[in-house]
């Protein structure tokens, strides 16, 4: 099974090809002009259209408003992308910058949630005077609408981000620390140690991730700490395998031999010589791991086995809107759904970029 884990590299190579193919003709074809009026107009048009969508279509059909705003944003994205590529060269990746911005915003919002002027997110007694099931309207006091208790969805989404991020970052941290330790030990000592850790890894892999989570949720209290621990078990096998694989290659290198010749202890070899080299590829993998774990946490909470309401989490917020409320008030599902999607998408995109850049296997190509 071990040779399979390293296979999902081809998409990266293909994407590089993509980028090369798509950017090459543009550079040669377009003549140099002083001001790209077309792109400026497109960007402005996009901003105006989405502004009109937000402000002027407030009382109309929600779907129409959404369509207009999205169309405006797409126009602004295309126009802005052209402008920025002119300014900073063809390699400028607007999507990556937007993803970074989104994640930074989310992180700050989550960190500062207690001091931000947000509506009530959890205590039903605090939202008695708020309208229930209000549709999203960016210019109202409830920008993203309210749920069936009148709780503010913007506030709930941000507090949900706190839970999601704490749980998944914690799980990745635990998984990386334990996994790197086990992987290095396994690759360094080989023999029986390797076999035992290998069987342990395979056993973790023998239960499908979600089923493992559900099984643990049956018996554990659904606290943040327990959920993070359960999620870290999902991260563990792949981290162990990656750490073991890099250890196997690095342990044969000259600098390890040199350290050994100078009389370094086994502990020192593992911690000072191997660990720094093993951690780098793991760090770029961590980004993708976080996105996988955010989805896992959201799935668990969606199934009612993770973070329990009234504590908000993206998963249980989506579960709230499922069923009969879904047809009349789709925003209850769509608001946390879009936030979840954007976060996962951003992490995947940046993770892919980071992997292309830092993964030594990719660098050799």
């Amino acid at each position: 099974m071990s040779e399979i884990t390293e296979l999902p590299t081809p998409p990266a190579a293909g994407q590089a090809l993509d980028a090369a193919v798509s950017s090459a003709p543009e550079r040669t074809r377009r003549p140099a002009r002083s001001v790209p009026w077309g792109s400026v107009a497109l960007t402005l048009l996009g901003v105006v259209v989405s502004g009109v969508g937000v402000a002027a279509l407030r009382d109309g059909n929600g779907w129409l408003q959404l369509a207009v705003v999205v169309a405006g944003l797409v126009l602004a994205y295309v126009g802005g992308g052209q402008l920025l590529r002119r300014r900073f060269g063809a390699g400028f990746d607007l999507a990556a910058w937007l993803c970074t911005t989104w994640l930074v915003l989310l992180l700050f919002a989550a960190l500062l949630a207690p001091v931000l002027p947000l509506g009530e997110h959890q205590d039903i007694a605090g939202s008695l005077d708020a309208p229930i099931l209000a549709a999203p309207d960016l210019l109202s006091p409830y920008p993203l609408g309210t749920n069936n208790f009148g709780l503010d969805l913007l506030s709930r989404v941000i507090h949900g981000a706190r839970a999601s991020l704490v749980v998944s970052l914690g799980a990745v941290l635990i998984g990386t620390v334990v996994g790197a330790a086990l992987g290095i030990v396994s690759g360094f000592f080989r023999k029986t140690t390797d076999v035992v850790i290998g069987i342990f890894t395979n056993s973790l892999l023998a239960v499908p991730p979600l089923v493992l989570l559900i099984a643990l949720a049956t018996v554990l209290e659904p606290s943040l700490g327990n959920i993070a621990l359960a999620l870290s078990l999902l991260a563990l096998p792949s981290v162990i395998r990656m750490a073991r694989a890099s250890t196997l290659t690095f342990v044969q290198r000259e600098f390890v031999l040199a350290a050994r010749a100078m009389g370094a202890s086994r502990m020192r070899l593992m911690v000072r010589e191997l660990l720094p080299n093993v951690l780098l590829p793991l760090a770029s993998y961590g980004m993708v791991m976080i996105s996988v774990l955010i989805v896992a946490e959201a799935s668990l909470s969606f199934l009612g086995l993770g973070i329990q309401p009234p504590n908000p989490s993206w998963g249980n917020m989506i579960a709230e809107g499922e069923g009969n409320t879904f047809e009349e008030h789709p925003h209850i599902v769509l608001v946390p759904g879009v936030v979840l999607f954007l976060t996962v998408f951003s992490l995947n995109l940046l993770g892919e970029k980071a992997r292309k850049r830092f993964d030594p296997r990719q660098a050799k190509l």
Binding site: T5, P8, G14, V207, P208, L210, V333, G337, N348
Partner: protein
């Protein structure tokens, strides 16, 4: 081949033993006494003691495990601990076909969607359609399956009203009805898989299409369709077969979610319902069955490489 097979079988046995032990240990993670969880609080202490005696909870962990494993191997996974105290194995046997059908249909639909998309993409690599497909598949991969399922329901069941939600017709009752009701759940499962397959197959196809034998086929005047389907597909499909094996875990996960979402009587709904009520005996049994199927399927996929690619067969011997 024989020796590899023996080695794999040994590993497999060890893995299954550990998984079963882990599953068994679930009970000891329970925050309170299993007897209290089963009977509920507020009974006479003698009743709890009697139940503990009956369940053998006072014996040592190892002897309890061996007991449990012994009866599991003879097909007795125990009784559900939550009121309709049904036989766990019966419930699992009734639920399993639904899950297997959904997973197989989802995988089949994913292949049906992804092969033509990947071929179009690879044949016109770098073109507009290719870029849209690449971006689209990347986006679809970032949609969690429960969200995808809700969107599928929103479009096909609520807005268009083409398909029903939350009904299941057994295949023994009516084949057409069964396929009709299984369509939306299978589509939900297929979406993410199709996106992944399209990306992998496209990349492999692009490499294959640069080979000399493709040039030769084109020079002989073969049509694009013939070149793609007859010459390029098979040598490009190895990564995808690997991926089918790798994505099996996720496939089972999305089957679980889809069953919950569409209220289908499969293994996933069974596990989630049991987890919700704290029916750990049911969860233990289901996890054991799912893990066994998962490990065995992975073994079969590993062995299938040799069939697909003779070079691997030689390398192993």
């Amino acid at each position: 081949m024989g020796r590899t097979l023996m080695k794999r079988a040994g590993e497999l046995a060890a893995v299954l033993l550990i998984v079963s032990f882990g599953t068994f240990l679930l009970v000891s993670l329970l925050p309170n006494d299993p007897a209290v969880s089963i009977l509920g609080p507020g009974r006479a202490p003698a009743e709890y003691a009697a139940l503990r005696e009956e369940l053998g909870l006072d014996d040592s962990t190892l002897s309890r495990y061996l007991d449990w494993l012994g009866s599991a191997l003879t097909g007795d996974l125990g009784q559900s601990v939550v009121p309709p105290q049904v036989d766990v194995l019966d419930r699992i046997a009734a639920a399993l076909p639904v899950s297997v059908q959904l997973a197989v249909m989802g995988m089949g639909m994913a292949l049906l969607i992804s092969i033509p998309l990947a071929m179009w993409s690879a044949y016109h690599a770098g073109g507009r359609v290719d870029r849209v497909i690449s971006g689209g598949t990347f986006g679809v991969l970032s949609v969690p399956s429960f969200l995808a399922g809700l969107l599928v329901i929103m479009v096909f069941a609520n807005a268009l009203d083409w398909f029903p939600r939350a009904q299941w017709v057994r295949i023994t009752e009516s084949l057409a009805g069964n396929l009709y009701h299984a369509f939306l759940p299978a589509l939900t499962i297929a979406l993410a898989e199709a996106a992944l397959f399209t990306r992998i197959l496209r990349n492999d196809l692009i490499t294959t299409l640069q080979e000399d034998f493709i040039l030769a086929a084109k020079a002989k005047g073969m049509s694009a369709r013939h070149v793609l389907f007859s010459d390029a597909l098979r040598p490009s499909s190895f990564s995808m077969v690997t991926l089918i094996g790798l994505s099996l875990g996720r496939l089972i996960g999305s089957t679980v979610i889809v069953e919950y979402l569409f209220a289908l009587p499969g293994l996933g709904s069974l596990v989630i319902g049991a987890a919700d009520t704290g029916d750990f005996v049911m969860v233990q049994g289901a996890v054991l069955v799912i893990a066994t199927i998962y490990v065995l399927t992975n073994l079969l996929i590993d062995l299938s490489y040799g069939v697909l690619d003779p070079r691997i067969r030689r390398a192993h011997v």
